[in-house]
C-alpha cells in the first residue's frame, strides 16, 4: 500500500497552482470580525452539512483556529476540501445576511484557514467511542465514502475503505483542478481519517480483486460511495478522437508533466468540469472555446464559474452542436457543428435545442475535450441494486435494495446538482443509519 502521507506528488506549473492563497492570521481575524453571529444562522442552514458557521468564525475571531476546525470537522470531515471546492456563492455565502447590502463574509476562506491548521496536526481531534466490534466496508474513498467512514469510526466501528485507484480521495484527489484544490489537501484528509482508525486500502475494486462474497462474509454493513464514471462518448462521427475532460483534470493533479495541450482547444459541454478543463488548457497557453448546444441561460456551470471563465479569456459558442470530428491523417482539424435554436421545454425543464436547418459551422481545433457529464454507475459494484434514471436507488436512510448495503454521493444523485459537500452529507447521514442498523442487529442478537 503506497504511503500517501509521505508520497510527494509533482507540483503543477505555476499557472495551475492554487488560485487563492491562505488567509494570514490577521486577515482571518479581520474577516471573522465582520460576522454578525446571526442566530439560527442562514449560512448554517444553507450548508448541506450544516456546519456551525457563526460558531467557528467566532472561534477564529478569538484566535482559536484549532477549535474552529473541530467545529467544522464535527459536521463535515472533509471541511478542508469543501472550503476550496464548495460553490459558496450558492450555499453559505449566498445566504449570508451581509450579502444583500455589502458583501458576504468569506466563509469558505475562513473555513480553509481553520481546517488548514489541523491538516497535519497529529493530535486527536475527536474522542472515539469504545470499539463495537462491528466491521463496515466502504467502497470508494471519495467524499461520500470518507465522510461515512469517519463518522462510523467516531462511533467505535471498525471501518475499512476500498479504493480502486492508486491514491485515495476520489474526486477530490483526481477530479478537482489544482487551481482550486491541490491533491495534497485530499490526501491529508485521508490521513486524518487514518489517524481516527479508518483503514484505507488502495487498488481494490469490486469485481477485480474484491468480491461481494468477501464483503458479505466479513462485514456487518457496506457503504457504496462509488461516484460516477468517465465522460461518455458523444456518439458522433470521429468521436474516438475526442479526449476525456476528466483525464485532463487528473493529469494536472497527479502528473502535470504529461500535460500536452494544443494551440486551439475546444471543450464540449458547459458544466463546471467543462470550465475546469477549459481553464487548464487556457492557462497552459491554448486558445480555448467552449461549445454548447444550448445558451448561457441553460448552462449547468455556476454563474460565478461562468464569470471566471470569461475573465480567463475563454470563448463560448452557444447553440452549437458538434456533429462530427474532422481529422486529417489522424490529426484533429476541427469540429463540424450544427447550429441550434431553442424550442419548447424538455424533460429537464430547460428549453430544448433543435437544429436550424441548413446552418452549420466549422470550429477549428487541434484538440477536443468532452465534459458532458459522467457515465452512470455500472459493473459488479452495483450488482443486485435497483436504479432511478440510472442512479442507485436508496430509501430515506440511504439503504439500497441489497441487504445491509447503503449508498450515497454522486452515484445516487438522480436529480439536482451533485457536489462534494452533498456527498459528504450523504456519507454522514448514511453513517447514522448504518450505526442504527448494526447496533439494532446486535440487540436482536
Amino acid at each position: 500500500m503506497p504511503d500517501t502521507a509521505t508520497r510527494v506528488l509533482p507540483a503543477p506549473p505555476p499557472s495551475l497552482a492554487e488560485l487563492l492563497g491562505p488567509l494570514t492570521p490577521h486577515e482571518a481575524q479581520v474577516e471573522a470580525n465582520r460576522c454578525l453571529y446571526c442566530f439560527d444562522a442562514p449560512c448554517l442552514q444553507a450548508c448541506p452539512t450544516h456546519i456551525d458557521i457563526p460558531g467557528f468564525i467566532r472561534k477564529i475571531a478569538q484566535a482559536r483556529p484549532r477549535d474552529a476546525a473541530k467545529t467544522i470537522l464535527s459536521a463535515n470531515l472533509l471541511g478542508a476540501t469543501c472550503s476550496r471546492v464548495c460553490p459558496v456563492e450558492e450555499l453559505c455565502e449566498g445566504a449570508c445576511v451581509l450579502g444583500a447590502s455589502f458583501k458576504p463574509v468569506s466563509i469558505g476562506r475562513l473555513q480553509r484557514y481553520a481546517t488548514d491548521t489541523v491538516l497535519h496536526d497529529t493530535r486527536p481531534l475527536f474522542t472515539l467511542a469504545a470499539p463495537t466490534g462491528k466491521r463496515i466496508a466502504v467502497m470508494g474513498s471519495g467524499p461520500a465514502g470518507l465522510s461515512c467512514a469517519g463518522e462510523l469510526a467516531k462511533k467505535g466501528h471498525s471501518v475499512e475503505v476500498f479504493e480502486k485507484s492508486d491514491l485515495p480521495g476520489g474526486l477530490s484527489t483526481y477530479g478537482i483542478v489544482t487551481l482550486r484544490e491541490p491533491p495534497e489537501v485530499a490526501l491529508a484528509e485521508v490521513e486524518l481519517l487514518r489517524r481516527m482508525g479508518v483503514v484505507v486500502h488502495v487498488g481494490r475494486e469490486l469485481g477485480r480483486n474484491l468480491s461481494w462474497d468477501e464483503l458479505d462474509d466479513q462485514f456487518d454493513a457496506v457503504f457504496l460511495g462509488l461516484g460516477l464514471g468517465r465522460v461518455p462518448l458523444l456518439g458522433i462521427s470521429g468521436d474516438q478522437a475526442i479526449l476525456d475532460g476528466l483525464d485532463l483534470v487528473e493529469a494536472c493533479k497527479v502528473d502535470p508533466a504529461s500535460l500536452e495541450i494544443g494551440r486551439h482547444v475546444v471543450v464540449i459541454g458547459a458544466g463546471n468540469t467543462a470550465i475546469d478543463c477549459a481553464t487548464v488548457a487556457r492557462r497552459l497557453g491554448a486558445e480555448v472555446t467552449i461549445v454548447y448546444r444550448r445558451t448561457e441561460a441553460e448552462m449547468t456551470a455556476y454563474p460565478h464559474e461562468y464569470d471566471f471563465a470569461k475573465a480567463e479569456g475563454i470563448g463560448f459558442r452557444f447553440l452549437t452542436q458538434p456533429v462530427a470530428v474532422v481529422t486529417d491523417a489522424g490529426r484533429v482539424k476541427g469540429l463540424e457543428c450544427q447550429m441550434m435554436e431553442l424550442g419548447a421545454p424538455d424533460a429537464s425543464g430547460r428549453r430544448e435545442p433543435r437544429p436550424v436547418p441548413g446552418r452549420t459551422v466549422f470550429v477549428e481545433a487541434d484538440q477536443v475535450f468532452a465534459a458532458i457529464g459522467q457515465t452512470k454507475p455500472q459493473g459488479p459494484a452495483v450488482e443486485g441494486l435497483t436504479f432511478d434514471r440510472g442512479y442507485i436507488s436508496v430509501d430515506d436512510t440511504f439503504r439500497t435494495k441489497r441487504p445491509k448495503v447503503f449508498a450515497g454521493g454522486d452515484a445516487i444523485r438522480s436529480t439536482g446538482a451533485a457536489s462534494t459537500v452533498m456527498a459528504v452529507q450523504d456519507g454522514k447521514l448514511a453513517a447514522r443509519a448504518i450505526h442504527g442498523f448494526v447496533t439494532q442487529e446486535a440487540r436482536r442478537g
Binding site: P42, Q45, P48, H50, E89
Partner: protein
C-alpha cells in the same frame, strides 16, 4: 457658517477644541504642529514636581479588531526640565497669540511650591492655569493629583493658595474617581476657581497577558492600575458633566466647564456642549490618529450647528440640560414598543435571541410564506442552498407584550430597522415621586398590586 470661537473664563479661542494636558502637548514643537493643524488651544502637559518615567506606559482596549476603544496609561507628568518647558510655553504663545495656551500644573501640597510654580507660569505669557487634581496613578501615591481631587478640603486649600498669587484664570481639573464630582467642584469654586474641567482618567486595569499571566502591559514583570481614557469613557464623562451642570450650587457660581473624556468625533463634541461644556479637550483620539482629526471635528460641529440654526457655541452650551431628569421624575405613563421594519430587516435574528434569552420573550419568528410562528432550529437537515433565505423565519414584535426595554433596538445591526414607537399606554401620566406622595401604600407589595390592577399593568 457658525462662529465656533469661545470665551472661556476670559480665555479666547478660535474654536472650542483644545488638546488636553497629555502626551500630545508634551513640547513646543508638537504644539506648533497642532496649532498649524487647527487646534484652538492646548493645555500644556502638566509641569511641576520632578519625575522619572518607566516603560511600558500604555495599554489599549480592543474589541472585535477595533483598536483603542480606550487607552490606559501610567505616564507621569512632564519629565522635561522645567526651564525648557517654561521657555517653550513662552515661545509658543508668542508665535500663536490667537490660540489658547493653558498650562497644567501640579506640585507638592505646600503653599510655597504652588506660589513658585504659579509665578513662573505667569511670566511665560500663557493664558491660564489648569490645576491637575486628577492624575490617578503615580503622582497620587505622592499625595498629588487625584489624592487632592478626592478630598474637597484639599481642593479648596490649594485653589486658595493659587489664587493668592495668580492673575490669570484658574481652571480646576477634577478626577472622576469619586462618588460625585460635585463636592470637589464646589470646594474649588468656593475657593475662587474660575472654571472647572473634567474628567481626568479613570482608575483601571486594562488587562492581563494570558501567556505570561502578567499584567498587560508588563513593566519588568509587574503592573498595576493606570488612567483609563478614550471613546469607552465618554458615557462616564457625560454623566459627571451633567451632574455638575444640574447642581444648583455649582450653577450659582456661573463658571464655565471644559469637557473631556472620550471625545473623538464632532458628534461627541456636540454632546459635551449640549450638557454644558464650553471648551472641549481631546487626547486619546489625537494619540490614535494624530492632530489632523481637528479638521473633521471643526467641520462636523460647524455643519451640525448650521443644520440646527445655532450661530455660536454659547447657544449650544447646556441646551439639553433642561431635559435631564432623575428617575423619580420620569413619566411612568409613557410607553414605547419596538417595531421592526420588515423591509430593512436582514434576518440575522439577533433581536429574537436577545429578547428571548435575556429580555421579555416578546419577539416571535414568523415564516414569511405562511405567517405561522416557528421555533428556531426546526429546519430540515436535508435542506440546503441559498434559496432557504427566501422563507427564513423573520422576527416580529408582539407589541402587547413588549415592555419597551429597547434591547432589540440596541442589538440590531441595521440602522433604523428597529424603531421605538411611543404608544398610548392607557395609564395616567405620573411620576414615581408624584405617585408615591399621593399613594404611600405603594411602598408595600399589596398596595402596589392593587395599583397595578387599577391602571392595567400586567407583569408576565
Amino acid at each position: 457658517m457658525a462662529d465656533l470661537s469661545i470665551d472661556f473664563a476670559g480665555i479666547w479661542s478660535p474654536n472650542p477644541f483644545w488638546l488636553a494636558s497629555a502626551p500630545p502637548t508634551n513640547s513646543g514643537a508638537q504644539i506648533h504642529r497642532a496649532f498649524e493643524a487647527g487646534w484652538g488651544g492646548a493645555v500644556w502637559k502638566t509641569i511641576g514636581s520632578p519625575v522619572l518615567n518607566i516603560s511600558n506606559r500604555y495599554g489599549g482596549l480592543s474589541l472585535g479588531g477595533q483598536r483603542l476603544l480606550a487607552i490606559n496609561n501610567i505616564e507621569l507628568i512632564s519629565d522635561r526640565p522645567q526651564d525648557v518647558n517654561l521657555r517653550e510655553i513662552a515661545e509658543v504663545k508668542r508665535a500663536w497669540p490667537d490660540r489658547a495656551v493653558i498650562v497644567s500644573v501640579m506640585v507638592e501640597s505646600t503653599r510655597q511650591a504652588w506660589h513658585d510654580i504659579v509665578k513662573k507660569v505667569e511670566d511665560t505669557g500663557a493664558d491660564g492655569f489648569e490645576l491637575n487634581f486628577g492624575c490617578p496613578h503615580g503622582m497620587s501615591e505622592r499625595g498629588m493629583g487625584a489624592a487632592v481631587g478626592q478630598v474637597p478640603e484639599y481642593c479648596g486649600q490649594i485653589v486658595g493658595w493659587v489664587k493668592e498669587v495668580a492673575t490669570l484664570p484658574v481652571i480646576v481639573k477634577l478626577t472622576p474617581n469619586v462618588a460625585s464630582v460635585v463636592p470637589p467642584g464646589l470646594a474649588a469654586l468656593a475657593a475662587g476657581a474660575d472654571a472647572l474641567s473634567l474628567i481626568n482618567t479613570i482608575n483601571s486595569i486594562i488587562g492581563l497577558d494570558l501567556k505570561s499571566l502578567e499584567f498587560a502591559p508588563s513593566i519588568g514583570g509587574k503592573g498595576g492600575h493606570g488612567g483609563f481614557a478614550g471613546p469607552a469613557v465618554k458615557p462616564v464623562a457625560l454623566h459627571h458633566l451633567s451632574s455638575l451642570m444640574t447642581d444648583e450650587k455649582i450653577l450659582s457660581f456661573k463658571k464655565p466647564v471644559s469637557g473631556q473624556g472620550g471625545i473623538s468625533t464632532w458628534q461627541d463634541a456636540a454632546e459635551f456642549l449640549l450638557l454644558g461644556a464650553t471648551s472641549l479637550q481631546v487626547c486619546t483620539a489625537a494619540m490614535h490618529h494624530g492632530y489632523r482629526i481637528v479638521e473633521d471635528l471643526i467641520e462636523g460641529l460647524s455643519g451640525w450647528m448650521d443644520d440646527h440654526g445655532f450661530a455660536t457655541i454659547p447657544e449650544v452650551t447646556g441646551k439639553s440640560l433642561a431635559k435631564f431628569s432623575d428617575f423619580k421624575d420620569l413619566d411612568l405613563g409613557f410607553q414605547a414598543v419596538a417595531r421592526i421594519d420588515a423591509a430593512k430587516c436582514i434576518g440575522c435574528n439577533l433581536c429574537y435571541v436577545a429578547c428571548q434569552d435575556t429580555a421579555h420573550q416578546c419577539i416571535d419568528l414568523l415564516r414569511p410564506s405562511t405567517g405561522e410562528k416557528v421555533e428556531p432550529r426546526t429546519w430540515s437537515e436535508r435542506s440546503n442552498g441559498k434559496a432557504i433565505v427566501a422563507d427564513r423565519p423573520r422576527p416580529k414584535v408582539r407589541e402587547d407584550d413588549c415592555v419597551g426595554c429597547r434591547l432589540c433596538f440596541n442589538v440590531c445591526p441595521v440602522d433604523d430597522c428597529i424603531t421605538m414607537e411611543s404608544v398610548a399606554s392607557g395609564r395616567p401620566s405620573v411620576t414615581w415621586d408624584q405617585l408615591t406622595k399621593a399613594k404611600p401604600e405603594l411602598a408595600d407589595w399589596d398596595g402596589m398590586e392593587k395599583y397595578r390592577k387599577e391602571v392595567g399593568i400586567e407583569i408576565h
